[in-house]
Structures are given as C-alpha cells and as structure tokens.
Subunit: 227 residues, 2 copies
C-alpha cells in the first residue's frame, strides 16, 4: 500500500513512532503525545486506528511497536523528509536550521517521480544536512551511531557524524562553531562533576556543555590519548 494512501496524520505518527522506537524500543502513549504535540487521549485514538490498519502492534497500556508494513511507510516518509532537507540546503541554500520545518510540510506532497528527480540531481546522497542517513528506496537504513561526543575520553579525536535537528537554536549554535558533519573534533579536557568538555574544532577550542555534546554523534574515533 503506497505512502499516498495514508493521511498526513498517519504518516506523521508512523514517522514519529519510528524515531522514538530507535531510541527507546516500545513507544509509550505519553511520549508519542508529547513528541507530536497532541493530547494523550487523541494519541490513543489514532493508535487504535493504526492498529486496525496493521501498521502497529498495540498492547493496551503497553504502548506500540511498528509492524513491518508500518516501518516500511515510516521509512518512505523519512526518506522524503531527509531527501528534501538535503535538496533545500544544497540546491536552494536554505539554512540548516530551517530545512527541517520546511521538509515537514513538503514531505507529504512529494510524488515518486519528483523524489527520483531530486535524488538523481543530488547524486544519490546518503545523508541529510545534519548527517542523518537517508533511507534507500528499498527501505535500507544503517544502524544508529553508537558513540556521542560526550562519550569520548580526553585526547580522543573523531569525526562529527550527525547532529540532532530537534532544536533550530542549537543548530545555529553548532553552525557558529563550525560543528557540522564531516568535521574533525578532538577532546582537550573534560571538567568534573558533569562540567563542560573542551574540544578543538578546526584549530579553535570551545567549551561545550555536557548536554549539548550528547546531541552530537561521532565516528572514526582514534584510540585514547593519541595526541
């Protein structure tokens, strides 16, 4: 059953369930409600509908998990979303803190034909501007990054793989620092008692809050004290 047979609401629910599921496994009603900005009661109603469409497995009081069919649709929506983000940034110069909001609207009206044209025009990209992977047309998606910037030890270097796109203000902050996917980072110091990390980016040192650093995923990590 193609994407377009489902309402925008259904698509948004599936996309959001997929995201939460990646982080937390089973998806609780309240968590979903909060992420979507709806009341828990409304979410229960929609969940029942999704269950009757066999898009989620629903256990009352126990939350939901996507079925294979639901996951397939979620991945199509996410593919649209990330491809559009990439296109907006690359072809139209939209700042990276704005592409998410824009893509949230566009993703629901993108035809398959246009999706293919955009994909080809961009040279079949594999990540969006925040470093998040773009699912393949076949629904393939690499596993999430296992290491965050805040997990590194002093002296370790790594490459920025992905930054969270949930807060536009944080994205503007990252942009100011030059902290973006593909850039190398080295941890210079870690203050005790949950204090800030000192990192070097492009030969400049910055102090980053521990929480902010948890929103940055890294890869290609060097062994500790390589420096």
């Amino acid at each position: 059953m193609p994407l377009s047979e489902h309402t925008e609401s259904v698509q948004d629910y599936l996309k959001t369930i997929f995201d939460i599921q990646r982080e937390q496994g089973r998806v609780a009603t309240t968590v979903l409600a909060e992420r979507l900005g709806n009341s828990p009661a409304s979410v229960t109603g929609m969940i029942k509908k999704l269950a009757s469409l066999n898009l989620v497995d629903y256990e009352p009081y126990q939350g939901v998990v996507l079925t294979a069919a639901g996951e397939k649709i979620a991945l199509e929506v996410i593919r649209h979303h990330r491809l559009i983000e990439r296109y907006l940034a690359e072809a139209l110069g939209v700042p990276w803190d704005q592409v998410h909001a824009e893509a949230d609207k566009w993703e629901h009206v993108l035809s398959e034909d246009l999706e293919d044209r955009i994909d080809a025009m961009l040279g079949y990209p594999t990540t969006d501007p925040h470093g998040a992977p773009i699912p393949g047309r076949d629904g393939s998606l690499p596993p999430p990054h296992s290491t965050r910037l805040c997990d590194l030890h002093i002296g370790q270097s790594a490459t920025i793989a992905e930054v969270s796109d949930h807060d536009p203000a944080m994205l503007r902050y990252f942009a100011e620092l030059g902290l973006r996917p593909g850039v190398d980072v080295t941890v210079i110091a870690i203050a005790p008692f949950g204090g800030p990390l000192t990192v070097r980016l492009d030969n400049v040192e910055y102090a980053l809050g521990r929480e902010v650093a948890s929103y940055v995923a890294v890869c290609d990590i060097t062994p500790a004290s390589a420096e």
Copy 2:
C-alpha cells in the same frame, strides 16, 4: 491576513474563483462545483464560509465575486502555483504536462522564504511554462491576452503567448508540435464550416482543430496578409 491562515480548501476555492471570474465575471455555484470536482451543495456551504470571512461577496442564487481581500489571497496562491511550475520545469526538468498537478500540491506548503529563494534562483520570471503570467509579490497581474490562435485571419503571423494547461494530453500534443510560448506561428489556411486551421510552426505545417486553437493565446500579431 497571510495565506497560511487559510485552509488548503479555502485557498483552492479562491484560486478557482479567481480563474473563473477572469473568464466569466460573476461565478455561479455550479460552475465552481464542476471546476473543483465537488457537489454544488458542498460549494454552497463553503461559499457561505468564504462570505463570512469577507473573502467573497455572496448574493444567494446569484453566485460570488471576490472581495479585495479574497483576490489578494487568490493571487498569492496563483503566484505560488506558477512559480513552482516554472521551477519544476526549469530546475528539475519536469515535463510541462506534469508540472500543474505537482504544483497543485506544493503551492499550499511553500513558505514565503522559500518562495523568495525560488524566485531569485529563477531570475524573477514573469511567466510559467505555459506562458501564464506569474503575479507579482504585490499582486500585480497583466490583463489576459485578447487574441486566440483561432481568431487570426489567413496570412497573419503571431507569437504564441500562452497555452491552456487544463488538459495534460493536449499539452503533450502541443509539445510534439513544438507549439509553445515564444514560438512564431503563421495561419496558412482556415477551412470553412468550423473546419481546421492550417498553421506553420518552425517551417512545418500542421492542421489544428478549431477548438484546440481556441486554447492557444497569441500576441505580436502582424497585419493581415503580410505574407
């Protein structure tokens, strides 16, 4: 009141009312219903809503006319639509018989910011791929073309100004003929009793049905028998 404060339905109604009004003056319920693919009863309901929003002047049993506020919104929607059509054709290579359907979906989710970026990227175009004028940001729009291809006399030449985009199959036919805005055309013969016109396009002669020729607007007409 900005565009985005109105539902997609309202935007579609206003856009369609504007189009019909240009051709026929006051807009009858039935005509609007047919163009939108809705039942007349549904249209009456929506018309009342538009009237209560002061977007149309409604006289029961007499149809509607846009108010200044309604016209402003209609022009914004049409600007979005035609700018997107142009963008799709030019930047993404979408065939001109498909841009209309695609734009009908995209027009409702285009932010002002993105509108400006697209406008600039295209070099502030004044027409869409079918030759229809793109309203200015200020709502300005040139008057409709006064002459159609079927209005020309034998021997007259003119330039194609605009073709109707209502039928994708007809657009594909026009594309085959090389009949597109900006191309010069000369009327070689006109068969009697409503018969076909023979026209020359790019040094090739074609016979065109009278009705088809009525869907083509022309400009820069030479005096009769210039040839």
